[in-house]
């Protein structure tokens, strides 16, 4: 049932591999944080929030207050999870993990740099940007609880 579309994907991907050889430059310089595996100091310990004046919202507004809201720091067995959300026009427009286990700061769905893993030398190509992340800690209860506490502040 699947072969046709899968074949298309594979062919397209070979083109992607060729592109990779050009070593795309990230849109922005990679933040000079601690090396992977070293837990950075938390940006803030307590939940906090700040408000900003709403921009013009042509498409109407959602249920939340505009601003930036920091969720609770929720520990789990891998480490601490804390997220910050941005609300514009009453809707969540960004979710930024402030703390992830062994992970100082990473944009929710755009990684500026992929850390090396099994063979450090083999994954130099990962300095190229990735667009999305699969299989993240984002499905954890800790993540959901920190997010919920941030959203509670935005109501």
């Amino acid at each position: 049932v699947i072969p046709t579309r899968a074949a298309v994907a594979v062919v397209a991907t070979i083109a992607g591999l060729v592109l990779l050889l050009n070593f795309k430059t990230p849109d922005t310089p990679v933040a000079s944080g601690p090396r992977p595996g070293i837990i950075g100091s938390p940006p803030s310990a307590a939940p906090s929030s700040s408000s900003s004046s709403p921009a013009s919202c042509a498409a109407g507004t959602g249920p939340f207050k505009d601003g930036t809201f920091t969720g609770q720091d929720v520990p789990n067995r891998f480490g601490d999870v804390q997220v910050q959300i941005t609300i514009s026009c009453g809707r969540i427009t960004d979710v930024t993990p402030l703390q992830m286990p062994n992970d100082r700061q990473r944009s929710y769905d755009i990684s500026t740099q992929a850390a090396p893993l099994l063979h450090d030398e083999a994954l130099q190509a990962q300095s190229a940007q990735i667009d999305l992340l699969s299989g993240a800690t984002y499905t954890s209860d800790s993540y959901a609880r920190s997010l919920q506490s941030a959203l509670d502040q935005a109501r």
């Binding site: 699947i2 072969p3 579309r5 899968a6 074949a7 298309v8 994907a9 594979v10 397209a12 991907t13 070979i14 992607g16 591999l17 592109l19 849109d27 922005t28 933040a31 992977p36 595996g37 498409a59 789990n76 067995r77 891998f78 959300i85 969540i92 427009t93 979710v95 286990p101 062994n102 769905d109 755009i110 990684s111 500026t112 992929a114 850390a115 090396p116 893993l117 099994l118 063979h119 083999a122 994954l123 130099q124 190509a125 990962q126 940007q129 990735i130 667009d131 999305l132 992340l133 699969s134 299989g135 993240a136 800690t137 984002y138 499905t139 954890s140 209860d141 959901a144 997010l147 959203l151």
Partner: protein, 274 residues
């Protein structure tokens, strides 16, 4: 840490117990199309949530609702689940933990349906990330395929692999999900042998279900998934060893594809397939 904002249209939803990011690249769609997608996920949550006592799934489980009286969407998903259970030899089981819980299929399936609504609304290049399960269509930017990092199961700061493509679903199931809520239907116990399984294919619903079933079955499940036609499989074993089937190797874009000697292929004898 600020990014130079790429040209994209973003909507972040907090629904179905997770965060769903809808990311449209040019050409953009009217805001009403994103509203349709948002309403779709809210509707799926209402009908399928196992955390809501009044959802159709909860009522079906308690016997308060007959399948024939359920909505078309619920009947469709449960029919798909029954087929998956048959085709997977019982590895996929919506009652693996006793109660009716099609969540492993619903999330991916609802993303497939949401993407169809986005595309019907004019989107040609878009990605939806539902709590780490990803579906992409078209391109991230003109001439650039989407690049999807697969998070390492035991090293949260590391990636297990990067895959790249135009039209791909990527679903990862692992022990870090909700404190290992997945059990092997044949034993009722958490799986062993693997820390995460990623399945890559054209439809996220199938990838989601296959990844869950494969992870639940441990290494045996990984071997099974590696034989699924048209699907890539990447697994990380409890010893930190990475195994891929041939299609996954082709999809990988992280520099590992040329280093097969360092990676056990699923077809190799390291995992017992001759």
């Amino acid at each position: 840490m600020e990014h130079a904002a790429p040209s994209r249209q973003l909507r972040v939803l907090h629904v179905m117990g997770t965060v769903i990011t809808v990311d449209v690249r040019a050409p953009f769609v009217p805001a009403g199309v994103l509203d349709v997608v948002e309403a779709w996920f809210a509707d799926v949550d209402r009908r399928f949530s196992t955390f809501r006592q009044d959802s159709e799934i909860s009522r079906l489980d308690r016997g308060e609702l007959e399948l024939a009286d359920a909505s078309a969407a619920v009947r469709r998903v449960l029919q798909m689940a029954a087929l998956l259970q048959r085709d997977s030899g019982g590895r996929f089981d919506v009652r693996a933990r006793g109660c009716l819980d099609p969540s492993a299929l619903v999330k991916g399936w609802s993303v497939d349906e949401a993407m169809a609504r986005l595309c019907a609304g004019g989107a040609r290049n878009a990605a939806i990330n539902a709590g780490g399960d990803v579906l992409v269509r078209g391109e991230a930017a003109p001439g650039e395929t989407w690049r999807i990092g697969i998070r390492h199961p035991t090293r949260p700061d590391a990636l297990a692999a990067v895959v790249s493509g135009r039209d791909l679903g990527v679903a990862t199931s692992g022990a870090y999900e909700r404190d290992a809520h997945i059990v092997d239907p044949s034993t009722g116990q958490p799986p062993h042998g693997v820390d995460s399984v990623t399945v890559i294919g054209p439809e996220l619903g199938l990838c989601d279900a296959y990844a869950t079933a494969a992870f639940a079955g441990g290494m045996d499940g990984v071997r099974w998934a590696s034989t699924l036609e048209g699907h890539g499989v990447i697994a990380v074993t409890v010893k930190g060893r990475m195994v891929c089937n041939d299609l996954a190797l082709q999809l990988r874009a992280d520099g590992e594809s040329g280093r097969r000697a360092d990676n056990a292929r699923i077809s190799a004898d390291s995992v017992g397939i001759s």
